[in-house]
C-alpha cells in the first residue's frame, strides 16, 4: 500500500514476479515443518531414506506416541501434562505480576514508578541464556533444583518484564478521566484495578498471556538444566533426548514434535484474530 504499484493495476510481469517471490517465501518457511510432517508419516525404519514425500504413509507413529509404546516416549502424556501445567501456572503468575506492576506505574504514578519501569526494561533486554549458570546455582540455594516450580519462576522472571512494558505502553492510551471519575465516586486503588484497569486492558492481556504461554511451552535450555527426573520433564526436554544417538527413532521424535507444535500454533492464529499484530505491538518502538 506504500508503493506506487498499488495505485495502478499491477502489470503482468510484476504479478508473475510477486507470485514467484511468494512461492519462494512459502517453500522456505514451510520446508522444515513439511519435513517434520513427512517424517512423522514415515514408517520408523524408513527414516533414513530422505524421501521428499511420504512413500508409504502410515499413522502408526501417531499410535505409538499416543499409546507411549516406545522407550523414549514412555511418559509422553505425563510430560505433555507437565508442559501444560507449567505454562498455565507461569502465565497466571506473569499476568498477576505484570498487571499489578503496570497498573501501579501507569495509573497510580508513584515517584518510584519510573525506576521500576526502567529496571523492567533492563531485565527485558538481558538475554536469558546469559543468566542460566547463576540462575541454576541460585535455584540450588533456594532448594528448588529438580522442582517444576523453578521452571515456572524462570518463565515468570523472563516474561514479566516484557509483559510490563507492553501493558504500560497500552495503559497510556486509557483516558485519565476514567480514574478521576472513579476517585470521585470513592473508589480506591483496588477497585480501580479490578473494575477499570483489568477489564479495559483485556485485549492486551490476551496478547501478553499468549506470549507467556508460548514462551513457557517452548522453553528448552532452562527446562533441561533445572529438571532432572523424567517424570517431571517437559516435552522439549524429552525431545532433546533423541539427540543422544542417531539410532533413536527420529520418525517418532518428529511425530511427537508435530503433536507438541499444534497447541501453540493454534493459539497463535486464534490470538492473532483477537488482536491483529498485538503480540508484537509495543515490543519495539523507536
Amino acid at each position: 500500500m506504500n508503493d506506487a504499484s498499488t495505485a495502478l493495476p499491477r502489470r503482468l510481469h510484476e504479478t508473475v514476479l510477486l507470485g514467484v517471490l511468494g512461492l519462494v517465501i512459502v517453500v522456505w518457511s514451510l520446508l522444515p515443518i513439511y519435513h517434520m510432517v513427512v517424517l512423522s508419516l514415515t514408517p520408523p525404519r524408513e527414516g533414513f531414506a530422505g524421501h521428499l514425500w511420504p512413500v508409504n504413509p502410515t499413522l502408526a507413529n501417531y499410535v505409538t506416541v499416543l499409546t507411549q509404546a516406545d522407550y523414549y516416549l514412555a511418559q509422553f502424556w505425563q510430560q505433555l501434562g507437565n508442559s501444560a501445567l507449567i505454562a498455565v501456572a507461569a502465565t497466571a503468575m506473569v499476568l498477576l505480576c505484570s498487571l499489578m506492576a503496570s497498573f501501579a506505574i501507569s495509573r497510580l504514578r508513584p515517584r518510584f514508578g519510573s525506576l521500576v519501569s526502567y529496571l523492567a526494561l533492563v531485565a527485558y533486554f538481558v538475554p536469558a541464556t546469559f543468566l542460566a549458570i547463576p540462575f541454576y546455582q541460585v535455584m540450588g540455594t533456594y532448594g528448588l533444583l529438580g522442582n517444576q516450580l523453578s521452571l515456572v519462576l524462570c518463565v515468570v522472571a523472563f516474561a514479566t518484564p516484557y509483559a510490563i512494558w507492553v501493558l504500560q505502553q497500552n495503559a497510556h492510551t486509557l483516558p485519565d478521566e476514567l480514574d478521576d471519575a472513579a476517585r470521585i465516586d470513592g473508589a480506591g486503588p483496588l477497585q480501580m484495578f479490578t473494575l477499570i484497569y483489568v477489564p479495559l486492558m483485556l485485549p492486551t492481556i490476551v496478547a501478553v498471556g499468549a506470549f507467556a504461554l508460548m514462551l513457557s511451552w517452548n522453553e528448552y535450555l532452562y527446562a533441561f538444566l533445572l529438571l532432572s527426573d523424567e517424570s517431571r520433564f517437559t516435552i522439549p526436554v524429552m525431545l532433546g533426548q533423541f539427540m543422544a544417538d542417531d539410532a533413536a527413532p527420529w520418525p517418532l521424535l518428529m511425530t511427537s514434535g508435530v503433536i507438541y507444535m499444534l497447541p501453540p500454533t493454534a493459539l497463535y492464529y486464534v490470538a492473532r484474530q483477537f488482536q491483529s499484530s498485538g503480540m508484537m505491538s509495543g515490543s519495539v518502538k523507536g
Partner: protein
C-alpha cells in the same frame, strides 16, 4: 488529571495525601501493587546477576578460559554469527517488508504462513532441520544427489558449513518476527507522504529512499540492536543443530558458557565465558534504554 507525584501540591488528589508522610496514600498502594514484580526481580534477576559477578570475580578462572584455543575460536564464531546472522536477517527483513506491505488476500495468506517458523516451537523444527541436513540420509543431500548426481556437503560435520547452517537456521527462525516489526512500522507511515512524493514524480525506489527509509530508520536501528543482543543469547540454533561440534568448532559464547559450566562442571569458567560478551552487551543495552525511553 493526576500529575506526577513530584507536583504533589497541585495534584487534585492532594487531599488524600497527608503532609510530612513519606508516601502518599496512592504511593503506598503503588508499593503494594509493585511488590510481586519486585520480589521476582530481586530473587530471580538481581540476585543471579550479582551471583554471576561474584563467580566472575574469581580471577583464577580467566587464565583457564583465555588459554583454551577453543575459547578463541568461539569468540571468532560469535563475531561471525552476529555480523552475518543479524546483518543478513535484518537486511532480508527490510527487503521482504516491501512484499508484505502490499495489499491483497494472497499477501495476507503468505504472511500467515511466513510466520510459522517463528510461531512453531524451536525444538522440533530445529531438530527437523538437523535431520534434513544430515549429509548421509538427509532430504537436502538426497535432493542434491537426485538433481546433480553429486554428494552434497557435510552441512553439520564440517565447521564452516556448520556455521553456515547455524546462521541459516537462525535466520529461518527469527526473520518473520523482525520482518513483521518493520512491516508494522511501514504501515504507520502517513499515506500523504507517498502522495506528495508521487506528485513530485518520485519513482518507487526514490520513494523508498526518501520517504520509507527515513521514516523507519529509527525502528530499524533499534530492532537491529535488540536482535544483536538476543542473538548473543541464541542457544537453541547452535546447540540443537551441531551441538557446538564437530570438536567444539561451532560454539558461540552462549553454548560454550553452558558447556564449561555443565559438561565440565566449571561454573566460574562458564560465567567468565558469558561475561566476555559484556563489552558489547552493556553499551548496546545502555543505548537501547536511552532510545526506548526517549520515545515515551
Amino acid at each position: 488529571m493526576t500529575t506526577p507525584a513530584t507536583n504533589n501540591a497541585l495534584a487534585p488528589s492532594a487531599d488524600l495525601r497527608r503532609r510530612g508522610q513519606l508516601l502518599s496514600f496512592e504511593e503506598a498502594w503503588a508499593l503494594f501493587f509493585i511488590l510481586p514484580f519486585a520480589l521476582v526481580f530481586v530473587l530471580f534477576i538481581a540476585y543471579p546477576i550479582a551471583y554471576a559477578l561474584y563467580l566472575g570475580s574469581d580471577l583464577s578462572a580467566y587464565p583457564r578460559v583465555l588459554t583454551d584455543p577453543i575459547y578463541l575460536l568461539t569468540l571468532q564464531n560469535t563475531f561471525v554469527f552476529i555480523v552475518f546472522g543479524v546483518g543478513l536477517k535484518m537486511l532480508l527483513a527490510l527487503a521482504l517488508s516491501s512484499f508484505f506491505v502490499l495489499p491483497g488476500r494472497g499477501v495476507r495468506v503468505i504472511s500467515a504462513l511466513f510466520l510459522l517458523p517463528w510461531v512453531a516451537p524451536h525444538i522440533p523444527s530445529i531438530l527437523s532441520i538437523r535431520w534434513m541436513l544430515n549429509s548421509d540420509w538427509g532430504m537436502i543431500n538426497t535432493l542434491i544427489f537426485k538433481l546433480f548426481h553429486v554428494d552434497g556437503p557435510a552441512w553439520l560435520t564440517q565447521p564452516s558449513y556448520g556455521m553456515l547452517s547455524i546462521i541459516t537456521v537462525h535466520i529461518w527462525k527469527y526473520l518473520p518476527f523482525w520482518t513483521m516489526i518493520i512491516v508494522a512500522a511501514r504501515l504507520g507511515i502517513p499515506k500523504d507522504l507517498y502522495e506528495a512524493a508521487k506528485i513530485d514524480g518520485a519513482s518507487p525506489s526514490q520513494q523508498f529512499r526518501h520517504v520509507t527509509f527515513p521514516a523507519i530508520a529509527g525502528v530499524f536501528l533499534t530492532s537491529t540492536m535488540l536482535s544483536a543482543i538476543w542473538s548473543l543469547g541464541d542457544f537453541n540454533s547452535i546447540y540443537l543443530l551441531t551441538g557446538g561440534g564437530p570438536m567444539e568448532r561451532t560454539n558461540t559464547l552462549a553454548t560454550m558458557g553452558i558447556r564449561y559450566a555443565f559438561r565440565k562442571a566449571d561454573f566460574e569458567a562458564g560465567v567468565v565465558t558469558m561475561m566476555s560478551a559484556l563489552p558489547v552487551l552493556v553499551p548496546l543495552i545502555i543505548v537501547l534504554l536511552r532510545r526506548l525511553r526517549e520515545q515515551r
